[in-house]
């Protein structure tokens, strides 16, 4: 956060001399130190970083073409030539795993991006203006929350048509109500702070108050929730792809690899092993990182 240093509650003191803009308390650097000294959170960050690197470097890594079939090497067990084995039409499983990381991470990040981009402004509007705006937004949020996350995503994916893009939209819209609710609650509590009152008193407009005082202060819990929701979204994408509603063949995705693998459990168990382990590790990474961020950013711990 760019705001200069200030002790919490400083804004409460009578403003001396030329009117300074009230400054919210800062907790950036202390949280960073706290996060860095938490080995579990670092493990999470390392797991996430590993998969991000794998996904980003997929085009340059020396692996086989993930869609190239080899009828002479169908369902071969892991070996020196194919470290992770081959699938039912002789494609290299390792290559498909590496390219599949792209689909999983993209789905996690993009869908949470959609949820945050729509949900946070709506929640802030509801919390900031209250009244009818709040009533309308809150009712819609409750209605969306009443439909279980995955069922809403399946229904949306069904009506939008099966594709990775639509799965991301469906997951994003299904995750949106969590962010509306969170941003609304956080905005409501920030609005009672003295520095917001101070900002109003010196005549700042709505835009300036929201941008400079509300948003930076509701940001930490939203970051934590977003990190944890990426974990949920990755599982949701894998679930939709597993059901055939996400990434379409022959493009690789961990979920759709599992869908095929379940038909060859007896002959080629490795096909089912790797994608599951990868989903587990990347989701675990985001969960650990999210928990660590929560501990580091929790103002009650200060």
């Amino acid at each position: 956060m760019a705001a200069p240093d200030a002790v919490p509650g400083a804004a409460r003191a009578p403003l001396p001399g030329p009117v300074d803009e009230p400054v919210p308390p800062r907790r950036g650097s202390r949280s960073w130190t706290k996060l860095r000294s938490n080995p579990v959170a670092l493990l999470g960050a390392a797991l996430v970083l590993f998969f991000v690197l794998v996904a980003a470097l997929a085009p340059v890594l020396p692996v086989a073409d993930p869609t190239a079939t080899d009828w002479l090497a169908v369902r071969k067990a892991p070996s020196a030539a194919h470290w992770f084995g081959t699938d039912e039409i002789g494609r290299d499983v390792l290559a498909r795993m590496i390219w599949g990381a792209q689909a999983s991470l993209l789905a996690g990040v993009v869908s949470v991006g959609i949820a945050v981009a729509i949900g946070v402004p709506l929640g802030m509007m509801a919390g900031y203006w209250g009244g009818w705006t709040d009533a309308a937004i809150s009712r819609v949020t409750e209605a969306l929350l009443a439909v279980p996350f995955l069922i809403l995503a399946i229904a949306l994916a069904a009506f939008l048509g099966p594709s990775l893009t639509n799965a991301m939209i469906a997951i994003g819209l299904s995750a949106m109500p969590i962010f509306i609710r969170l941003a609304r609650g956080q905005t409501l509590s920030v609005m009672t702070e003295d520095y917001v009152e101070g900002a109003r008193a010196i005549g700042l407009g709505h835009g300036a108050i929201i941008g400079r005082y509300v948003l930076p202060n509701i940001f930490p819990p939203i970051l934590v929730q977003a990190t944890l929701t990426i974990a949920t979204a990755i599982i949701a994408e894998a679930s939709l792809s597993f059901l055939g509603l996400g990434q379409q063949p022959p493009a690789p995705s961990w979920g759709s690899m599992l869908n095929v693998a379940k038909n060859f459990l007896e002959q080629a168990p490795w096909m089912a092993l790797w994608p599951g382990i990868a989903i587990f590790l990347v989701v675990l990474g985001f969960n650990l990182l999210g928990d660590g961020l929560r501990d580091a950013l929790d103002p009650r711990e200060l």
């Binding site: 069922i151 069904a158 679930s239 459990l265 989903i279």
Partner: protein, 315 residues
């Protein structure tokens, strides 16, 4: 209490209306002309116009909604495009299967989650706590459909202990029915157990700090009695609420679990409907789950007030 339930029911009405608008709007998202899809090869403009009139597609959209909603209020959720069976009948037929799965899964979840949560809270910071947290975090991170596939591989394929599929209704063959449901219920239950364990742990930690626990210990009660009688009883109040709220997770989990173990329940019906483009069924399912979820929420709130005398007095 009745006043409370009545007030909550009135609040629930706008939510349900909004959900119904959303569910109705879903079919408007569909690309293409529904009449052309219905008519198949038929392209006679008169026939198409007749179909449009018959399904009221020429009416303004708000009017179409009111007509559809009028039907829904009388239990008419439309007809499955595939089996021509009324949607409500179809749901009523599949629901008992999923309820059996849900009850078995919840039992397993409670049997693992609550003791693990208690142990972890009592030994906070110790290796039991560490182990329980590791279990919970793994449970939250593992995709449960993959866990199901791995269990089939281990228990059915390699060991041959339990069948991987072949569901039997509880009424015709209870033993076989429970046998085939055991693995799916375990898969579904462990995920929920993780959530339950985390909530039990934090509820217990909260209660263990309370003054009455110190008093109970000061009286010289055995630690066992303090934990199980005094602390757990009070911690159970939020846990009951959470268990009811896990219903949504249970239903969503059932979709994948039933798919893997080929159980002909509610979840498999949704997926089949999606693939058969049986939109009336998808709409009916979303509407029914939402209403059921609201009902579960209400029941949880009522149970919370009933279990917590302090809230009861507030009326």
């Amino acid at each position: 209490m009745l006043g409370f339930i009545g007030r909550r029911l009135i609040i629930a009405i706008p939510t349900i209306v909004l959900i119904s608008i959303f569910v109705f709007a879903l079919q408007k998202l569909l690309p293409g002309d529904p009449v052309l899809a219905m008519a198949g090869e038929e392209r006679d403009p008169e026939v198409l116009e007749f179909l449009r009139e018959k399904y009221r597609l020429n009416d303004p959209i708000p009017q179409q909604y009111l007509h559809w909603m009028g039907g829904v209020m009388q239990g008419d959720l439309g007809v499955s495009l595939r089996t021509r069976q009324p949607v409500l009948e179809l749901i009523a037929e599949k629901l008992p299967v999923t309820i059996q799965l849900a009850v078995m899964a919840m039992t397993i979840a409670l049997m693992i989650g609550i003791p693990a949560g208690i142990l972890s809270a009592v030994h906070k910071g110790g290796w039991i706590d560490w182990l329980a947290n590791l279990f919970a975090l793994s449970g939250l991170s593992v995709p449960n459909f993959w866990l199901g596939i791995m269990l089939i591989l281990l228990v059915s394929v390699k060991l041959g202990w339990l069948p991987a599929s072949g569901y039997q209704p509880l009424a015709t063959d209870p033993l076989r029915s429970i046998q085939t449901m055991l693995m799916p219920a375990f898969v579904l239950g462990t995920g929920l157990a993780a959530t339950l364990m985390r909530h039990t742990r934090s509820a217990m930690l909260g209660v263990l700090r309370a003054d009455f626990i110190r008093t109970a210990r000061a009286k010289g009660l055995r630690e066992r009695t303090v934990i199980l009688k005094h602390a757990l009883r009070n911690a159970l109040v939020p846990i009951v609420t959470i268990s009811a709220l896990l219903f949504g997770e249970l239903l969503a989990g059932a979709v994948l679990t039933e798919q893997i173990f080929t159980i002909p329940g509610f979840g498999k019906m949704i997926v089949d409907a999606v693939f058969n483009r049986d939109y009336a069924v998808v709409q009916g399912v979303v509407l029914c789950t939402a209403v059921a979820f609201i009902a579960m929420n209400l029941a949880a709130d009522a149970a919370y007030r009933w279990l917590n005398p302090r809230m009861r007095e507030q009326g």
